[in-house]
């Protein structure tokens, strides 16, 4: 498999900054706004979005991490139980507008699980979705509010987001799946 780079580190940085502006614009400010990253690569991305908003708005938004492991509907299909990475929502969800942040939007199942998990913690006023990559092939009626880059893919392809905090590098690559039985997406 040869991976092809589709975003550089600089392009990721610019996409995050653009999304951060869009979020504030769509919300008409920062009041009652909270950013929640989905474990695992959504978490560092959420932190960066929050940092970018702090940069241009001068406001430090609450940031959380959401582990959706216990909400997945495919547990009986995976070979080993996923390791739980931890949920941390250090603020009251009730009445907030939560922006969920994830790296890749694919079938939509992860986001559905994330929304299930989120509402177990409280009742947000609204939930929005920001993703770095939207690669299509939705299986559920879910749409992102903010997208870093739309990437048309085939189902056999794997989109992989590398972030410094987890992978030690910054880029987005696309490659082709080699073996049957491998997960169809870069994550999940």
């Amino acid at each position: 498999m040869t991976d092809r780079q589709i975003m550089t580190g600089e392009e990721i940085r610019r996409a995050i900054v653009r999304i951060s502006h869009e979020i504030v614009e769509k919300h008409a400010g920062t009041d009652g706004l909270a950013i929640v990253g989905i474990q695992r690569r959504g978490v560092p991305l959420a932190k960066r979005v929050a940092a970018a908003i702090e940069e241009h708005e001068g406001v430090r938004l609450p940031v959380g991490a959401l582990d959706i492991t216990f909400y997945r509907d495919d547990l009986s299909l995976v070979a080993q139980q996923p390791i739980v990475k931890g949920t941390d929502l250090p603020f009251d969800l009730n009445g907030t507008t939560v922006v969920l942040v994830d790296d890749v939007l694919y079938t939509g199942r992860t986001i559905r699980c994330a929304m299930d998990a989120l509402v177990d913690f409280g009742r947000p006023r609204a939930i929005r979705l920001a993703v770095l990559i939207d690669r299509g092939h939705r299986e559920l009626p879910i749409r992102a509010d903010h997208v870093g880059k739309n990437v048309p893919t085939s189902r056999e392809e794997i989109v992989k987001v590398h972030v410094e905090e987890v992978d030690g590098s910054e880029e987005v690559t696309i490659g082709r799946q080699l073996r049957a039985g491998e997960p169809a997406a870069g994550r999940q």
Partner: protein
């Protein structure tokens, strides 16, 4: 929900936590002796997450939605059964409950036949309590799903040992038991709790002391001697004594085990009164332990026998915490087992290699 340290940007440092990837491969959990230390730590971390769920407004996640957990109890133990069933329901599993009173066990059906029947009825995870040591190993041999030992004979009670370990870690700085003195006082001979705790606490590096009258310590001396020189990879030594003051002095953790009335008929003890006088955990004895020491008991307690009533309700007692942690540990184990589709090596239990 655990409190996280905040980094420079004011966001939780979730990803800075050490993330040693441990793959859970055990299809069954029959005793803690089969677990490596990293696996025990994985259980502890997963238990943290389950504690987080239990602290939420909605204490339930769909992780085991549609999976069937069957509890098969050949010994009455309402508290253990309820703990397992609560754990299973918190994970949205379907729970089927079989006890000797309701099953055909009393009509002489063999364990193997019972298990084959339960499997045919769709049981996927079997939580089993049995009075004969080793019975869950027989169950695991014939059952196509997962067996979780809820206590077998004198042999093992792995979920109790793990919840004990979890509770001790909560109360010790850094959750580190290395060099911490743990005294277990009571009927060691007949205790599956003691046996499983020997495996887990010697793996954790605790300074473990087992204490009881000589009649209830039988065989433990030779066990302790065999392990004395660090013979078992991944496990430290432990001590055996009939001197309760030696066991309790400067302890960080003091645990009392239940004394059963049958022991008098067996000629093992003169009387409960004498046991209470010589071995019971009273305030005076507990005062020999460290000031911040905790007092534990796996329950159910005979207050006034192995533990004095004032000790049982004192600020040092963490007995109700043990009960609460029991649900979280059992959630963690049900969750981990449910995902272990690939059979571990058939002999992963008791295998020398498997010990850390």
């Amino acid at each position: 929900m655990s409190v996280q340290a905040y980094g420079a940007a004011g966001v939780p440092e979730i990803d800075s936590a050490p993330t040693q990837e441990v793959v859970w491969h055990h299809r069954h959990l029959l005793d803690v002796d089969a677990l490596t230390w990293p696996e025990i730590e994985l259980i502890m971390r997963t238990t943290d997450e389950m504690k987080g769920i239990l602290a939420r407004p909605i204490r339930k996640v769909p992780a085991l939605n549609g999976r069937r957990v069957t509890t098969l109890f050949y010994e009455a133990s309402t508290r253990t059964r309820v703990s397992f069933e609560t754990a299973a329901r918190n994970l949205s599993a379907d729970v089927v409950s079989i006890s000797t009173a309701t099953s055909s066990v009393t009509k002489g059906e063999s364990l193997v036949d019972t298990i084959r029947t339960l499997e045919a009825l769709g049981a996927e995870i079997l939580v089993m309590r049995h009075s004969v040591s080793g019975a869950p190993y027989l169950a695991a041999e014939v059952f196509g799903g997962h067996v979780l030992n809820g206590g077998d004979g004198w042999h093992a009670h792995p979920t109790q040992a793990l919840l004990d370990l979890y509770t001790m870690r909560q109360h010790l700085p850094g959750g580190d038991l290395r060099g911490r003195k743990v005294a277990i006082v009571g009927d060691i001979l007949h205790s599956r709790v003691a046996r499983s705790n020997i495996w887990s606490l010697t793996a954790a590096g605790a300074d473990l002391w087992l204490c009881g009258p000589a009649t209830l310590l039988r065989g433990m001396d030779r066990w302790a001697t065999a392990w004395g020189d660090g013979a078992i990879p991944g496990h430290g030594r432990f001590h055996v004594t009939s001197d309760v003051e030696v066991a309790v002095r400067d302890a960080d953790v003091v645990m009392a085990l239940r004394i059963q009335r049958e022991r008098m008929q067996g000629g093992l003890l003169p009387s409960l009164r004498e046991y209470a006088a010589r071995f019971g955990l009273n305030a005076e004895r507990v005062s020999l332990a460290k000031p911040e020491a905790i007092v534990m008991h796996p329950g159910p307690m005979n207050e006034g026998v192995e533990i004095a009533p004032d000790v049982a309700v004192s600020g040092r007692a963490v007995i109700t915490e043990q009960v609460a942690n029991g649900v979280a540990v059992r959630m963690a184990l049900l969750y981990l087992l449910a995902g272990a589709h690939e059979t571990g090596r058939p002999h992963d239990a008791h295998s020398g290699e498997a010990i850390r």
